[in-house]
Symmetry: C2
Subunit: 204 residues, 2 copies
């Protein structure tokens, strides 16, 4: 079995997505911690692998890939079956809408609020919390009618969106008003092979 | 030929992506303008099609899809060939990295700056311009070594990323310091079937 390597940081929700999906796929993953405190992500050799200077980065037999959502797509196509990411236009399109939600609305909402509160990033945390309230409201409405974000089954849409939603409390946002979201997180946690991460919200 | 319908706004770069890709594919597109000034995107029947209240929305024989990047993926899988979006893991992963750049860094950079300057959105325009300088610098470096964003050929990565980059001047950002980006825009404009939009930056 070829060796997968993840340039990783334990408290990163984006890195956790990749660790979680590999665990669900039963793929061993070699973790290489990146010294973000020491600025290793902003200089060689890391920026030669990812000029964006961001984690995670996946390496797989010569393939080097940045961005957590793109890595989920790669892993699904390479090691998953089509249940995680179908290739028909309609199915793939529906999964994509939620990958984009992870990359935009969730990043600008609960993820930014956590960057501010937990890691001291200078950003407009009031705007981030307002964004979070908006996207959590939309997800609550969707998940009140659907067990999973897309296609009525677990897909990489759920893996992409769950971590920063489940970590909302670390950005000062309570999931108490969102029972459907909490039930969805519980369903994800029950998937065979599920692994957790530090501070991941525990559903009651 | 089944009728494609796009819920559209002419000056929206996200809607333009879809119009442009359909033109490149030679697919006729029925445009349905959405009255954003009148708030039509925030109420029924629009929000029944897209609870996020955002344009564009594509309708195709019963399929209803939100988000411009997801729509590009759908159209590529349904009406394109694999040159626009391959289904092998490595090729698809590489295209995805740039769709995510369109959804995140470009949205938070030149697109946000334009929302502020052109449409009066209340947002931190200094942060948006700083984000824009950062992502344009990264793209310039990449395009100085590559004619296209991914796979050495035109893909939906280029269609997703070009519009808000080419419209940077409407957010107070000059592309003068970015010759490789300007050359890339010129290459996209030379693609067979290319269509423009109002205010699209004219390469010298």
């Amino acid at each position: 079995m070829a060796e997968l390597k993840l340039h990783d940081l334990e408290p990163s929700g984006n890195c956790y997505k990749v660790r979680l999906f590999c665990a669900l796929l039963g793929r061993p993953l070699n973790l290489e911690p990146v010294d973000l405190m020491g600025g290793a992500h902003k200089r060689s050799p890391f920026v030669d692998k990812n000029p964006f200077g961001q984690i995670p980065v996946l390496e797989d037999s010569g393939v080097v890939l940045r961005n957590s959502q793109a890595i989920l797509v790669y892993l699904a196509r390479k090691y998953g079956d089509e249940s995680w990411l179908p290739i028909d236009a309609t199915g793939m399109g529906e999964v994509m809408t939620w990958l984009m939600t992870a990359e935009n609305e969730i990043a600008r909402g609960p993820a930014d609020a956590r960057l501010h509160d937990k890691f001291g990033f200078k950003l407009d945390v009031h705007q981030a919390r307002e964004n979070a309230a908006h996207i959590l409201g939309l997800m609550e409405e969707h998940l009140a009618k659907n067990n999973w974000l897309a296609l009525g089954r677990p897909t990489i849409a759920d893996i992409a969106c769950m971590p920063y939603v489940a970590l909302s409390h670390e950005g000062g946002i309570s999931l108490e008003p969102f029972p459907a979201i909490r039930a969805w997180i519980t369903r994800i946690k029950a998937l065979p092979g599920f692994i957790s991460m530090p501070a991941l919200w525990d559903a009651p």
